[in-house]
Symmetry: C2
Subunit: 196 residues, 2 copies
């Protein structure tokens, strides 16, 4: 069965790929608005790991809706959730038998409820799989240590193909880069560089 | 890392074992009250599949509490949930680094909430993993068809090492076997006979 996995090049979505690869024909799919070229890094990592790779173009209007929401809220959670739901809808509408993402049990964002999962499956005739949703933070960290080589650094330096990078770029463009820390708290990002 | 997986010999817990085997040293653990010898079938299946196997003895008082609850409710769900929580506590107290079960996203019973999972992990210093909790019913069925050989039949004929069999045996002993259909609706059970 052909499975498309939303892929950022980060540790969670890479670990999800390893968990699924014996059971599905996995294609790593980086969803992006065409605002930055960070998707290229995810594509290089996918190639290094030996997975098929594809870009999924998202509707740029959704990025602007997300940024409006982030400005209104003062924090990014709901905006990122909005983009993730759009990405899952677009991926479900593509030609895969099953779709997946790297959401974990302990994630606050993005989340996909059981009802949302069922709705995606029923409307699009695909299986939606969240292989890490049964793993807590510590379990994921231990599996990452055992199986992946990663680079860790602050969000602004690590080039990762997650939605945050493109939303930050819109804010920097429209409000100036000094506006970014108002909405996005400093945090460490990881980028996968190989499999152990 | 050593992982103990609650194992009934059914398709869900067997599929959970296959999902985890590349990432953990998996031991299949059949929890039982010593009321029936159905655990032997799970042990044989575990050996056929090449997994280590262990019995985990449960407190027989919990079986009687569960049966009391089932009589009171008129349906088995809460009684089975009570036994599953006891089994997870006992497994978490054993000498594994991680514990797991075969609960699926769409299961109504047993269920383990995120708060219960976190509490188990914090109190016992283990990781609790539910590898099928990110898979819906259809996805599980398709993986089972692709990877497992199974026998299907009515609950009273399929000898499976789940809690239901031992609770049914207590009810048959105390109330007569004609009492069983009052509490346990007819349903198909599966027993795994091999890996494809």
């Amino acid at each position: 069965m052909e499975l498309g996995l939303l892929y950022s090049g980060g540790k969670d979505s890479t670990l999800a790929a390893l968990l699924l690869e014996d059971f599905y024909d996995v294609t790593l799919v980086t969803a992006q608005f065409g605002i930055t070229d960070d998707w290229e890094h995810a594509g290089e990592t996918a190639a290094d790991l030996g997975f098929d790779f594809r870009r999924l173009e998202l509707d740029r209007a959704v990025a602007h809706e997300a940024v409006d929401r982030i400005r209104e809220d003062g924090f990014p959670r709901n905006g990122i959730q909005h983009v993730h739901q759009h990405a899952l809808e677009e991926l479900a509408a593509a030609d895969f038998d099953a779709i997946a993402d790297g959401t974990r049990r302990d994630d606050r964002v993005p989340t996909v409820s059981r009802a949302q999962a069922q709705s995606l499956e029923d409307r699009h005739g695909v299986d939606y799989i969240a292989p890490l949703s049964g793993f807590g933070r510590n379990a994921v960290d231990r599996l990452v240590d055992a199986h992946l080589e990663v680079t860790v650094g602050p969000s602004e330096e690590i080039r990762r193909a997650d939605y945050e990078a493109e939303l930050r770029a819109i804010i920097a463009d429209e409000d100036g880069s000094e506006a970014i820390p108002e909405y996005f708290p400093d945090h460490e990002q990881t980028y996968v560089t190989g499999i152990r």
